[in-house]
Amino acid sequence: MDWSAFSLSIQLAFGTLLVLLPMGLLVGRWLARTQFKGRAWLEAAILLPLVLPPTVMGYYLLVVVGGGSPVGQWLQNTWGVSLAFNFSGLLLASVLFNIPFMFQPIQRAFESIPNNLNEAAQVSGLSRWAIFTTVELPLAWPGIVSAMVLTFVHTLGEFGVVLMIGGSIPGETRTLAISIYDSVQSFDLQAAHQMSLALLIFSLVAVATSLLLSGRRMRTVKRAV
């Protein structure tokens, strides 16, 4: 078992959650409540990482933020930051790649709250913030948990984009998935087996929990309508 890879994966998964959750709440709720022209394009862009091969995304990220690119050079010269082959770059890739896993379930959760509950809260005198915290957030909570679980598990299992932007530097960019690949390449099947099994069980439990919560949410909302 490659504990440094395990620890790096966990750090990456939490980091991704930390960055994506506030964005997901803002954008997901906004998309659930607002109609505008070009909405289909924005939603398509959000879904893009689901259908794009990870290597394509990794490649474009390298092209845009790599050391040779204008953006990469500007980042290096102005802020002294490099995003290729280090943890920050990995985090950026992970955030972009997980956008649909975080945004979609949150958007659906907010969409499933009947609009008249929001109106009833307004008429009862609740401020916008109070409506968000006492009505919308509790009702959307199972969807939000699903989004968090999916994002977390998906980050642990990421491979293509991580390899493209980060390579396999132990302690810096070698995540659990990369480590499994490296173990197989070096015929260390025992380590590959341990890590694969751990990842499999962890993912299964997480996804099952998320499905269970979504089921309960559906029942609650059905009762509300």
Partner: protein
């Protein structure tokens, strides 16, 4: 604490009109689906802003588009009972009511909420249950308690009785009657049930396609609908066509010719029945009219009845249709003098027992309860009104 509202807009839906409601009065907004009833409630609650309009409640201006005034739902003290109650499914009944008690310190809200729930006859045990664990009638009481807990200056009820059974409905009618005297604020009720509107309300506002067609006491709207559309919308059964023939030989009375259509060319050939009714001098002779006779103006007498009274006309009839509605029957009567016209009446008690298809009788029609409406405002009439 009176309510005055006026509104006008064309998009996204057409809405225009005005009405008012005094404190302690119950006003019913009636009209077909899509008439704009719920939209007007949303205007009043501040959930929708009209292109042009003004809303004043108890001397406070909630909306004045001309002056750029718009109070949000949070700023208006308004209670709204939604059609499907809109209770928060994740909160107990008491917590739902406590939402509307934001003006109290947090610690007092639940205690006060339970008190409000007691007023609408929910026990402390029921107050702690979530909406899904309560019956439809109980959920509705919670919604009502939440609306009242805000101590509103205006109470809005959006088809509140549509989803509860008859027994619950009766007890809710009683509750509403009690609250009405206690609260002394204007109450606006949206309903599609005309009987409910007649029974509960002091005032009717008839809406169609976003327009206020008529406003007035329920009795007045039924007796004197402004036009044939209002007559249809408030469910007046006996509406007929005719032509106004002008003054009769008796001063104060005019001649109404009963016709089969609004085509006045057919007046003489189609029908010989003429009715002598009150002449207000407003309609030019020969003008096509719709006319109605209020149900109170029709009495069914036994066959052979021939007591002639001033202001009444006797019409020999026979029953052509009969529907049993429990404690009363609706009957269709064909007149001997105009076999194609059908008079509709509701009869109850012993009188309805012998009424079968073909049974004969005499209808005594009170000519004073005939109300005549010109087909469309005549230019001369429009000028006179101005």
């Amino acid at each position: 604490m009176a309510l005055h509202i006026q509104f006008q807009q064309h998009k996204p839906m057409s809405l225009q009109g005005q009405f008012s409601c005094e404190a302690g009065q119950l006003l019913a907004l009636v009209g077909p689906s899509g008439a704009g009833k719920s939209s007007i409630l949303r205007l009043l609650a501040g959930l929708m802003r009209p292109a042009h309009g003004r809303i004043e409640v108890g001397g406070q201006v909630w909306l004045d588009t001309a002056k750029g005034i718009f109070q949000t739902p949070q700023q208006r003290r308004v209670g709204l009972v939604f059609q499907n109650y809109a209770l928060m499914p994740h909160l107990s009944a008491a917590a739902n009511v406590a939402l509307a008690l934001q003006h109290l310190p947090k610690s007092e809200r639940i205690i006060e909420a339970v008190q409000w729930l007691k007023r609408v006859r929910l026990s402390s045990d029921e107050s702690m249950r979530r909406p899904a664990q309560l019956s439809g009638g109980q959920q509705q009481r919670v919604a009502l308690a939440r609306a009242l807990a805000r101590e509103p200056q205006l109470l809005l009820l959006d088809e509140p009785f549509s989803a509860v059974d008859q027994m619950n409905r009766e007890s809710l009618y009683r509750l509403l009657a009690e609250l009405r005297t206690d609260l002394n604020i204007p109450i606006v009720l949206v309903t599609h049930d005309l009987n409910e509107a007649r029974m509960l309300c002091d005032k009717l506002v008839v809406l169609d396609q976003g327009d206020v067609l008529q406003e007035g006491p329920a009795f007045e709207v039924h007796r004197r609908p402004r036009n044939s559309r209002v007559a249809d919308l408030v469910g007046i059964q006996n509406r007929f066509y005719g032509a106004w023939m002008g003054p009769s030989e008796t001063p104060g009375l005019g001649v109404l010719q009963w016709t089969r259509s609004l085509d006045t060319q057919q007046v003489t050939s189609q029908n010989s029945l003429q009715l002598r009714t009150r002449d207000k001098g407003k309609i030019p002779p020969g003008f096509p009219v719709n006319w109605v006779v209020h149900a109170d103006g029709l009495a069914l007498k036994p066959e052979g009845y021939n007591l002639q009274r001033d202001g009444f006309i006797l019409l020999p009839v026979h029953v052509v249709g009969h529907r049993d509605l429990g404690e009363l029957s609706l009957i269709d009567l064909s007149m001997d003098v105009a076999p194609c016209e059908v008079l509709k009446m509701a009869v109850s008690g012993a009188q309805r027992l012998g009424l079968k298809t073909g049974a004969r009788g005499v209808v005594e029609m009170d000519l004073g309860l005939i109300h005549i409406m010109p087909k469309k405002p005549h230019p001369e009439l429009a000028q006179m009104r101005r």
